[in-house]
Amino acid sequence: MADWPQRANVHITEGYLPITHCAAWAGACALPVAWSFRRLDLGAMPQQRRLVVAAAAGFLFALTALKLPSVAGSSSHPTGIALGTILLGPAAMPVLALLVLVFQALLLAHGGLTTLGANLFSLGVIGPMVVWLVWKAAGAMRLSEPTSVVLATMAGSTGTYVAASLQLALAFPDDAGGVLASFGRFAGIFAATQIPVAVVEAFFTLALLRALHGATRRAVAS
């Protein structure tokens, strides 16, 4: 078995996936992105909802720029997807994630244009879907809003990294154990780094969500 490193990453770097994988992940994103563009019709949207879109986009930009220290001398980025997913639904997120990923790929050399489809699929499609499912399940179980936000955010952040692990495992299967062994090792390695970061992200999300509710309530009351 190969000598594995200590961690994995949500943003797969330029040129690191085989071209067939790049094409496949880009193709997998095509429908969600088209759907997202259609749902995020800013021109037809009420002003207040447009401002919520701006806040969600700002949160995504700000959080994905933070490289939070985690355990064992490693660091990782929060995903920032939960706020927008909870407020706007998962359909809004592919477009917002696309903006952030293109910005990072072009200006920061973080991620990449060839790996844009793979990164978008994990950050803009899988992560928000996980957030949404957990948010809805928590609501059905009548959990409190703070608990639901924390659980949904942590699940979405972790789900994003699980998807990235699968993408890497598919591209680089272990010689002995294949994709499953590769995935298990990637997922096991990143979990130690990402789970503490997901907890911090959950509290950031909760704080901004509460502040947004407060701002909206004050505006309605005034």
């Binding site: 490193p5 200590q6 943003h11 700000a62 060839t114 947004l212």
Partner: protein, 82 residues
């Protein structure tokens, strides 16, 4: 406007400070993973970017500042009733 500037500055400075801690970045970690599995692997494409000319922490700081400014604008407008 002052609040927006302050929030953007705090977010930007925070992102820069966190980037400077020096713990191994996620990108480097992913690359190590690939090299461990495929010794001698070379990425088939590498594009030039601003990161070659400007330190990465500064770029992350600018991104965080932009995000914080966007949040402040949204809050301010929401506070005014949209």
């Amino acid at each position: 406007m002052k609040r927006m500037g302050a929030a953007a500055a705090v977010a930007g400075a925070g992102a820069v400070a966190l980037s400077l801690i020096g713990w191994e970045s996620a990108d480097e970690q992913a690359q190590e993973a690939v090299y461990a599995l495929r010794p001698g692997y070379t990425p088939w494409l590498s594009l030039p970017s601003l990161a070659a000319a400007v330190p990465e922490p500064v770029l992350f700081g600018l991104q965080a500042a932009f995000g914080a400014a966007l949040i402040c604008i949204a809050f301010r407008r929401l506070g005014q009733g949209g």
